[in-house]
Symmetry: C2
């Protein structure tokens, strides 16, 4: 392509590289403080908030956790979590995903105390958040048993960019057409190293294994040699 220099503005910068660097800088800074950042992504209503409630109850103060919760409108999820943990609502005003700048502003508004686990509850959307690095150490995708076991192949980027898959609402398995082996096979065909959990936040099954995995991830990804247990 021949560009006419009188009609072309040279930007001379890779915007995506700048964004990647900014996300990496946040990741490294928080790792240095012993904070594991977990980006929770899923469809609306897959159980992200319920999982965080169950996680907070399971740890019951054994670890310092905080949550940044994204929504288009309302503060409903923050209100649900506020009895358990420090939480900041990130309201996008209609945007379909969280971006790094909003996450950083939310982080500044959290109490200044040390955080062992910072959870980012993304917008309920199995498409757009897949393309945005918000500075997380691990991305975890949730699929509920009521959504159907065909979702990974239909929304592949979200599964390709995640490190763990949580199948939620397993208490409903007797009542819905859903195969855990089928969803796991479909997801691992896209991302072979995906760690898989099955749980019911409502009834408590599987929460302990999920929390133990988070504790190991904190040891792997952060500089918490004095405080990791």
């Amino acid at each position: 392509m021949n560009l006419d220099p009188t009609r072309t503005i040279a930007i001379n910068a890779d915007i995506y590289a700048q964004r990647r660097q900014a996300a990496q800088a946040l990741r490294e800074r928080l790792a240095g403080q012993g904070t594991l950042v977990v980006n929770l992504v899923s469809s609306p209503g897959s159980g992200k908030t319920s999982l965080l409630e169950a996680t907070a109850k399971h740890w019951h103060g054994a670890h310092r956790m905080a949550v940044l919760v994204g929504d288009l409108e309302t503060e409903r999820d923050a209100a649900r979590l506020a009895p358990y943990v420090p939480v900041q609502q990130l309201t996008t005003g209609g945007a379909c995903h969280l971006e790094l700048d909003l996450v950083k502003r939310g982080l500044e508004r959290l109490p200044a105390d040390p955080i062992d686990f910072l959870f980012i509850e993304n917008i309920g959307n199995l498409v757009c958040p897949a393309s945005h690095d918000v500075g997380e150490h691990v991305r975890v995708v949730l699929v509920s048993t009521t959504e159907g076991d065909d979702k990974p192949g239909k929304y592949p980027k979200m599964f390709r960019t995640s490190q763990a898959l949580i199948v939620t609402k397993i208490d409903l398995l007797p009542y819905v057409p859903f195969s855990i082996p089928a969803v796991v096979e479909d997801a691992q065909r896209i991302q072979g190293n995906l760690t898989v959990f099955q749980l019911s936040a409502l009834h408590g099954q599987g929460i302990a294994a999920w929390c133990e995995w988070l504790e190991r991830q904190r040891t792997v990804h952060t500089d918490c040699s004095r405080s990791c247990t």
Copy 2:
């Protein structure tokens, strides 16, 4: 704002107005042919494909229906519907919503026979499809009982731009924390004229009322004086 004419390109066109006109032209053309266009929108896994299977089985050839089914990847939903009705898969290759041009291309690939009801099964996404008119006469938003009754206020644009709300998977009500009055109140606070259905595509409850409403909508919105029954 002072614009430097040597650095400014005047477009002299309202791109959104062009899109609205193109959608309106398709809507009018299909209304003239007696075809009601229904845009089904929801989260992934709310039951759009299951609703279409149940609708096709209920009518059992009494009306000529066809489906354009959107997905990021795979032809899974088209394969599910193909035993019942003419169907074309629209694969967006990652985009988070359907647009008019893709719908028009899909329509051209359907058999040339007359269609009474053209269903557009949008991408599973409660955010992005709200902003795109694909030439429909009615937009119908689905919320399953397993997604939680707090969704309308959190994703308001989708409910504001819809004419009907279908609460799906009501067979699971005994097992999930979900209140139909609460979800209806939340949705009608946003869109007071929303028509509400409750159904279970799996067990068949509510399908007849939904199909009767569709038949009335066809009479209202299309020029089917000879063929509407």
